[in-house]
């Protein structure tokens, strides 16, 4: 019996794991290896340079700028998404039995699943200093039109806003499911003990939702650090965007690799990105993990 099981296990696992090795583990290893070398794509030799790439990286103003921008964007999205999705999910949960529930879920989730680029184009037009409705709407309130995509601070805000808009529906959905699965018994016990609805929400529901908050937080932060498409459309130096360029880590990495022909250098940037993401994830797990529960 055991033997049959072993044979099956290996036969079944081999193709899947084989592919996994080939398209995940080997490239990751290769990135680590390349980061210690120098390579300009076109030549055959790749000299070993040890940690030189990393040393140069941390003195490089363009990299530091990318790191700064990306960090702000990632945390900005996190700080907006978690509280607002929690709040909105709570509200939608209150109305799950109404006939609007389906409508809410659909419209809130739609931004998450539509193709990235059209959605970003829509927002690019909205934020357009000359043509966009945002400045027009602000005009009704007597606020001056602002150059949303040109201003160094505002352009980052625009990216944060776009990413949050896309992330919100997903987070709301997951929180709704979390609310639906809250054990009623605990909530009843709390109200029997005299807790008001608000207190029950803060002191019972939210702690119980920790695993969900952890999940949303990790996903949002990782997506935030990888931001590329949104920055590319809203604020890059491609022909259709004569605005300000907001440098993000992935953008800087791809530029170093395919425009400056410095693959080793770009790989070291990738390694830094990887380390940041891993460390942040670990921290979040520590902070939000409940004792004794495995995820």
């Amino acid at each position: 019996m055991q033997r049959k099981k072993l044979i099956f296990a290996i036969l079944a696992l081999l193709p899947a794991m084989g592919i996994y090795f080939w398209v995940r583990l080997i490239p990751i290893g290769e990135t680590l290896r390349l980061s210690l070398h120098q390579w300009n794509i076109l030549s055959k030799n790749k000299p070993f340079v040890g940690l030189d790439n990393f040393r140069e990286l941390f003195g490089d103003p363009l990299f530091l700028e990318s790191l700064f921008n990306t960090t702000i964007i990632a945390f900005g999205v996190l700080l907006i998404t978690i509280p607002s999705s929690l709040f909105i999910a709570y509200l939608v949960f209150q109305r799950t039995r109404s006939r609007f529930a389906g409508f809410y879920e659909t419209t809130l989730f739609l931004p998450h699943v539509v193709s990235l680029v059209p959605a970003a184009m829509a927002w690019k037009w909205i934020f357009d200093a000359r043509l966009g409705p945002l400045n027009a709407a602000l005009g009704w309130f007597g606020i001056e039109p602002k150059a949303w995509l040109f201003d160094p601070v505002l352009s980052i805000f625009c990216i944060i806003f776009l990413c949050s808009w896309q992330m919100l529906g997903y987070a709301v959905l997951i929180y709704i499911i979390g609310f639906k699965n809250l054990p009623l018994s605990l909530l009843e016990a709390a109200s029997l003990d005299g807790a008001s609805k608000r207190q029950a929400f803060w002191y019972v529901s939210i702690p119980l939702l920790k695993p969900i908050t952890l999940y949303v937080s990790v996903v949002t932060l990782v997506a935030g650090f990888n931001v590329y498409a949104q920055a590319f459309i809203l604020a890059s130096d491609s022909q259709g965007a004569p605005g300000r360029q907001v440098r993000t880590l992935v953008l800087d990495m791809l530029e170093n690799s395919f425009r400056n022909y410095r693959v080793g250098y770009a790989a070291s940037e990738a390694v830094v990105l990887m380390v940041i993401v891993l460390v942040l994830t670990l921290i979040q797990f520590r902070m939000l993990r409940e004792k004794g529960k495995s995820l």
């Binding site: 040109f150 130096d237 004569p242 605005g243 360029q245 530029e255 022909y261």
Partner: protein, 441 residues
């Protein structure tokens, strides 16, 4: 592997080794002869300027009419992406037959790695003929003693100015010196009640990523007899902005933005703004003429050469292909330089063709916008971007520092800080040159 790419000579020499082989060879050659011409040849034309697509299509259609077995696929995407795809394709060698439109600095690294095909005799003869091209362009298309590219068009900067606005401000001719640029700009700027500019007197390139800002800065610097990068006697380079020319240029930007307040980074800029009457003048390449014709045909404007000289950035057609497809590719490059096609290019797209023994006068007469580009004084000086590997990286970094500096109001009065910033820019650029072994004395 396509049959046509097997060298026929190789096949023939193999065939001479034995009678049976001879027989097989004869059969094989007949087969080859029968098969090869009938097979369609697919050549992709890669361009970094989407507005050039109709031109290449025109050339392709002409060639296809003569030889139906030729198939051309025109793929023109924005410049940055074009450069990237060229890097990826040429390094992997898997993109099929290509005619690639590139500027010499971009082509340089591929040439030094032998990734582009040398031009065959007849093409090389055509390119090196000084009746066809000025030495400047022949040089740009050659490398290490051989010809690798066929010159096509160039980007050249000149001043575009709105004649209605000039008249209204009492200005009868375009500015003749850089100092006049500033005084003109002040007169031309329209302001609202609070003094904020609503129409910029001079649309300077203050934002927008990539190296464009550095290029435009260099154009301005050139008017002050300076150069962003200078080549020494040893053939190596240095970044040279920390000098009088650099200071004057940067100061002019800052003064115009913060003191005279003729332009701000948020204002509409570039061709779009000019076409909508949101700026009185700006410096750009000739493609704007085609753009204005399309989008603002009623605009009253004129062009004028810049005070001292301008940038001339040639773009050539290079080939990456083998065998019969290489031949077809070079045929395409040559066909693109037929006088009729070049005249069509100038008229309908607006980029300036490099070939000189063609009569462009009908186009120029019917569109006086070109006069600033072709009617320049004999001593008009030209500069181009150096064909060195790290040029894009250096320009991008210079652009990044400049973009950060332009919005700083305090910098306009602070000569010391300006000087310090220019030294910083020099050091950063020179470090890169040093890294690549190109730093001169």
């Amino acid at each position: 592997m396509k049959i046509s790419s097997i060298g026929r000579r190789q096949f023939a020499s193999f065939a001479l080794s034995s009678p049976l082989h001879k027989l097989l060879a004869a059969a094989g050659l007949t087969l080859l002869a029968g098969v090869a011409p009938a097979q369609a040849q697919k050549i992709s034309i890669w361009s970094g300027y989407p507005e050039m697509a109709p031109f290449y299509q025109r050339v392709a259609d002409q060639l296809k009419a003569k030889n139906p077995s030729l198939q051309f696929s025109i793929e023109a995407i924005p410049l940055r992406e074009h450069e990237k795809r060229v890097a990826l394709a040429l390094s992997s060698g898997s993109a099929g037959a290509l005619v690639i439109e590139m500027a010499p600095p971009t082509a340089n690294r591929y040439l030094s790695n032998n990734l582009l095909v040398k031009a065959p005799g007849n093409v090389a003869g055509f390119v090196t003929d000084t009746k066809n091209y000025a030495p400047f362009f022949i040089q740009g298309a050659s490398s290490g003693g051989g010809v690798f590219g066929v010159p096509l068009f160039r980007g050249q900067g000149a001043l575009f100015y709105n004649t209605d606005m000039f008249k209204a401000a009492g200005l009868s001719k375009p500015p003749a010196t850089m100092e006049e640029f500033s005084t003109y700009a002040e007169k031309l700027t329209k302001r609202d009640a609070s003094g904020k500019p609503t129409v910029s007197g001079w649309s300077m390139r203050l934002s927008g990523g990539g190296q464009g800002i550095a290029e435009k800065f260099w154009i301005n610097m050139f008017q002050y007899s300076g150069n962003l990068l200078t080549q020494g006697a040893d053939g190596k380079w240095r970044v040279t902005v920390a000098n009088e020319a650099g200071r004057k240029t940067l100061k002019q930007y800052l003064v115009n933005v913060h003191k005279l307040k003729v332009v701000t980074p948020e204002m509409p800029a570039d061709a779009d703004a000019f076409e909508r009457g949101q700026t009185a003048m700006f410096i750009r390449e000739s493609w704007v003429i085609g753009d204005i014709a399309q989008k603002a045909p009623k605009l009253n404007y004129a062009t004028a050469p810049l005070p001292r000289g301008t940038i001339g950035l040639p773009t050539n057609l290079y080939v990456s292909a083998k065998g019969a497809e290489a031949d077809a590719s070079w045929t395409f490059a040559m066909a693109a330089n037929e006088p009729d096609n070049l005249i069509w290019l100038l008229k309908n797209v607006g980029w300036l063709p490099n070939r000189q023994n063609v009569d462009y006068s009908p186009v120029i007469k019917s569109n006086p916008g070109f006069s600033g580009f072709v009617n320049y004084p004999k001593d008009h000086a030209f500069f181009s971007l150096p064909s060195i590997d790290p040029i894009e990286e250096i320009l991008t970094r210079v652009a990044s520092k400049l973009t950060a500096a332009f919005p700083k109001a305090g910098l306009a009065d602070d000569d010391k800080a300006i000087a310090a910033l220019l030294v910083e820019i020099e050091n950063e650029g020179n470090a890169i040159l040093n890294r690549e072994g190109l730093l001169g004395k």
